[in-house]
């Protein structure tokens, strides 16, 4: 095992599923270059609050309520930049390494090199048939977004929200569980 591989393994072990991937990134250094920043920090308490305020009678809210039922936290950081190259792709690679451990499944990872380099990845942490977390890493030329969802999430429910027009359509990137898994 080379020194680089060893470093990757160490870094992967450092970011355990329960740990905060977003917190491990130095956002402060990107702040001066940002033209727009979105920050979502929903821990257990706020998710519980949100659940109590999502209506069962409104179909869209009822679906969202069902979706967040098994979640422990949702964290999002999305930064838009004025210019291309305002952030370092090496920093994104470090984040990607954190979700390259054996417990993580790389669902999609698309890398475009060149002048308009972009890097989009969807990673899922599975424990048997149970999804314990999702990390979405989208490094576009002028935008960097990280979504970290911890907890039991059903991609089908997310897709249903997209199909209902409540959120953008999710597409077929997220894996669909086999029918037999649902009975568990």
């Amino acid at each position: 095992m080379s020194a680089k591989q060893f470093a990757v393994v160490l870094f992967s072990l450092a970011i355990c599923p329960g740990q905060d991937l977003i917190q491990s990134f130095d956002w402060a250094k990107l702040a001066p270059k940002a033209s727009e920043t979105v920050e979502v920090n929903l821990d257990g308490f706020l998710l519980k609050m949100a659940r109590s305020f999502l209506s069962d009678s409104k179909p869209d809210e009822a679906q969202a309520k069902k979706l967040i039922g098994g979640l422990k936290s949702i964290k999002v950081r999305s930064i838009k930049f004025n210019n291309e190259g305002d952030y370092n792709m090496a920093d994104v690679d470090k984040l990607r390494m954190a979700v390259s451990g054996s417990e993580w499944s790389k669902v999609v990872e698309v890398k475009n090199s060149g002048s308009k380099a972009s890097n989009v990845g969807v990673y899922i942490k599975n424990n048997g048939s149970k999804t314990e977390g999702i990390v979405i890493l989208a490094a576009e030329p002028k935008e960097l977004t990280i979504v970290q969802v911890v907890g039991s999430i059903d991609p089908e429910q997310l897709r249903a929200l997209g199909d209902a027009g409540i959120i953008p359509k999710v597409g077929n990137v997220l894996p669909v569980k086999p029918k037999s898994d649902k009975k568990d």
Partner: protein
């Protein structure tokens, strides 16, 4: 002066009041001390205000959390869609002659 007149005179004659009579009369003429009632009312009002403030805060926090959940789900879906588009583009390219 007959006996009846003598009795009447004695009955209507000026008498010294009992000790502490003047203080009792004065005490009754002063308004009663209702400060404890006002304290109770003020306490209840403060409790109601505190409950109101807490409920307003809780409502705002709940609404905020709800909006944040929907925003997070929208961004999640949006970025998943971006990944889907990239995959579709690659698939399309691979099928091109």
């Amino acid at each position: 002066m007959n006996e009846f007149e003598e009795q009447l005179k004695q009955t209507l004659s000026r008498k010294q009041p009992a000790i502490g009579f003047a203080e009792k009369v004065l005490a009754r003429t002063h308004p009663r001390n209702h400060s404890w009632k006002w304290a109770l009312v003020a306490g209840l009002a403060a409790c109601l205000a505190a409950v109101g403030v807490y409920e307003t805060y809780r409502y705002q926090q709940g609404q905020f959390a709800k909006e944040q959940v929907m925003l997070a789900l929208r961004i999640t879906a949006d970025k998943t869609h971006v990944a889907q588009q990239k995959v579709d583009q690659l698939n399309h390219r691979s099928f091109l002659p």
